[in-house]
Symmetry: D2
Subunit: 224 residues, 4 copies
Amino acid sequence: MLKTPTIVLNVKTYMESTGENAFEIARLMEKIAEETKVSMAIAVQACDISRCVDAVSIPVYAQHIDPIKPGSNTGWTLPEAVKMAGAVGALVNHSEHRLILADIDTCLLRAKDLGLDTIVCTNNVAVSKAVATFSPSMIAVEPPELIGGDISVTTADPGIVRNTVQAVRRINNTVKILCGAGVKNGRDVAKAIELGADGVLLASGVIKAKNKEEVLRDLAAGVL
Amino acid sequence: MLKTPTIVLNVKTYMESTGENAFEIARLMEKIAEETKVSMAIAVQACDISRCVDAVSIPVYAQHIDPIKPGSNTGWTLPEAVKMAGAVGALVNHSEHRLILADIDTCLLRAKDLGLDTIVCTNNVAVSKAVATFSPSMIAVEPPELIGGDISVTTADPGIVRNTVQAVRRINNTVKILCGAGVKNGRDVAKAIELGADGVLLASGVIKAKNKEEVLRDLAAGVL
Amino acid sequence: MLKTPTIVLNVKTYMESTGENAFEIARLMEKIAEETKVSMAIAVQACDISRCVDAVSIPVYAQHIDPIKPGSNTGWTLPEAVKMAGAVGALVNHSEHRLILADIDTCLLRAKDLGLDTIVCTNNVAVSKAVATFSPSMIAVEPPELIGGDISVTTADPGIVRNTVQAVRRINNTVKILCGAGVKNGRDVAKAIELGADGVLLASGVIKAKNKEEVLRDLAAGVL
Amino acid sequence: MLKTPTIVLNVKTYMESTGENAFEIARLMEKIAEETKVSMAIAVQACDISRCVDAVSIPVYAQHIDPIKPGSNTGWTLPEAVKMAGAVGALVNHSEHRLILADIDTCLLRAKDLGLDTIVCTNNVAVSKAVATFSPSMIAVEPPELIGGDISVTTADPGIVRNTVQAVRRINNTVKILCGAGVKNGRDVAKAIELGADGVLLASGVIKAKNKEEVLRDLAAGVL
């Protein structure tokens, strides 16, 4: 389980974060995490998991797992394969990769069986509550309309963070809560924590930054 | 482009062919391919591509690519990532991972741009003809009802192989044609070639065999 | 809102229950419902809603609605269209038509806005709990492996019914609970009610019966 | 089979064309078709097929059919149901409702069996060629980026219309060809025919018009 508060970076499928570029970012995160003692994790493409695990000691997550058991599932992401490649967990139900409700249940059961951590992405308070009943490791609430945008969810809609924290804790107070969408700097991180969240999930704020190290250091400062 | 006639092994997501088990099978194939000079290739899970490429010199394929460009596509399989991990090509539209028609077109264009080989799976003669208009590297026709079964397509439905070969060649005679479903031994391979195919695509016939080396040697003998 | 206990018949897309055949079954249900005072409802194909509504006075449900607003959604099922055709509600997330989690939330909000009743189908206790947080009108729990089979869920797995009732009531005691899968006769209905359910959802038990009237009368007797 | 040249109106799921509003538009089309002798057809939501068929004598199409046979397919669109409701055909693979390649093949076979006309939508010349190998009744090419826009495909990209006509005719000269996307007036229709198309498929150009009758008359004038 990730130490919290934490900063989870989803590198998506940008060219700036595919293959060697992803490992470079992971190394930067590892260095800053060591220096600042702030908990950081990276979620990379399935193709990049094993090499990223070889390159760094920070926790590496898959960006997705499929609700399958070993067998005939050509081209799908087997939780066992993710685990064997060295990932410690997986994002589940990201807004760019939504799952059928029963399949979220199956993914979480499969992950639990294998000792994989799960960060389930949600779009609002109601869906966060529904997911909380499944007891994932973490829930990451991200209003889809703010993802990839210029204004952080913590500024644009602080209520969704506060209300998700409150509603999820009432159903299951062992679930950690992240927030995401538009998160870009230390102020956004500090605000997320102030609103009760256990950290942030972000992507373009780092990947598209000219100076990734500077942005990562600023994000870490928001935790401190 | 794969030398033909060829034997392409899709290891799917069986436990017997995930992680280290997949690399073991790949090494076996490499040994037999070198000894017999029969062309062999392996299609592994995205998580296993880079380590498999490190382990062997036979061509490694992805089992799937998504119809996407670099960007915000969390958890999907970016053709560039597959290429950077070291794969030479990808299965497209496998019966366990069908694609929307327009997305097959996009996948093939993306693969062509990146210099990736494509093996497009089809279920019958009509669909094979439609795919032939796109000029993939190869078409692999596999009647879904025979996949994973005990009787080889070359025995159960030789007509589908012969008619696919004929129909595809008429539309585009640069496209290579594989057949699959139930293929298990050298006789099936020899029959496939006799029917005009350029090789076979198979999975459980090898993966579920007690003695994988024996089966692979027998398959190779079918080419000779 | 349906009066409970109730018997809801999903006619699916069988030939025996398409077009005029569906209206025939609806008329039979109407007659028996009137005679026995047992609450009965029918869920028909989108194409058949308006004519079925014209034919009978029992409540007519859609088998599905899509999570959409009026606009550019060619070929999808608009909740408004279902309502205007005369349906009083809709099945949502049937095991043959599963939805993405966030889309269940959207469907339920859309239905509530339009005054449509919702019967959300679930596959187990955990998923039923998650759905209960959304406050649908009803939840219908149906273990997929028993659907269309010979043994009623009330016999094969009474625990799933009892535990769903208990778990859902704890989260939201206004939600009514149906059970389904293999339900065929009055004994199954009586058992469902004894286990705490508010009725049953069934399909082939009636549609595939030689004497539909006899089966419907027997089901009604199970309520009495 | 539709008489060509023809104007096919897809009413989508706009409020302006749901339920009674759809029948109103259909009556308008019927009146103008009778007066001008221009061939016109309307594609309505599944819920609205039977009432629309009762209301008018112009051909009524479904907006979609699913690749299914009668059976357990809750909430999907059975070709038989569409036929029994009175539709003469269906749009297949609309850009808002894309299908898996093998499912297009199945839909077309099912439609042929039932005597239903098919208008298969495509996004470019390559996909149109692939579809032509299946021999549908009609192909409607619509560049997705122009759909719902202000500039007609016939102005923005006349080459796609001309090249689709040419490529499809070469593969199968019995297939009729429509074009769509941004089509709004008689000039667009005339240009489509001049480019070799057999008519147009349009939606918002009529549905969102203040004066639908005026627009429909202008479109008809483009054929004359």
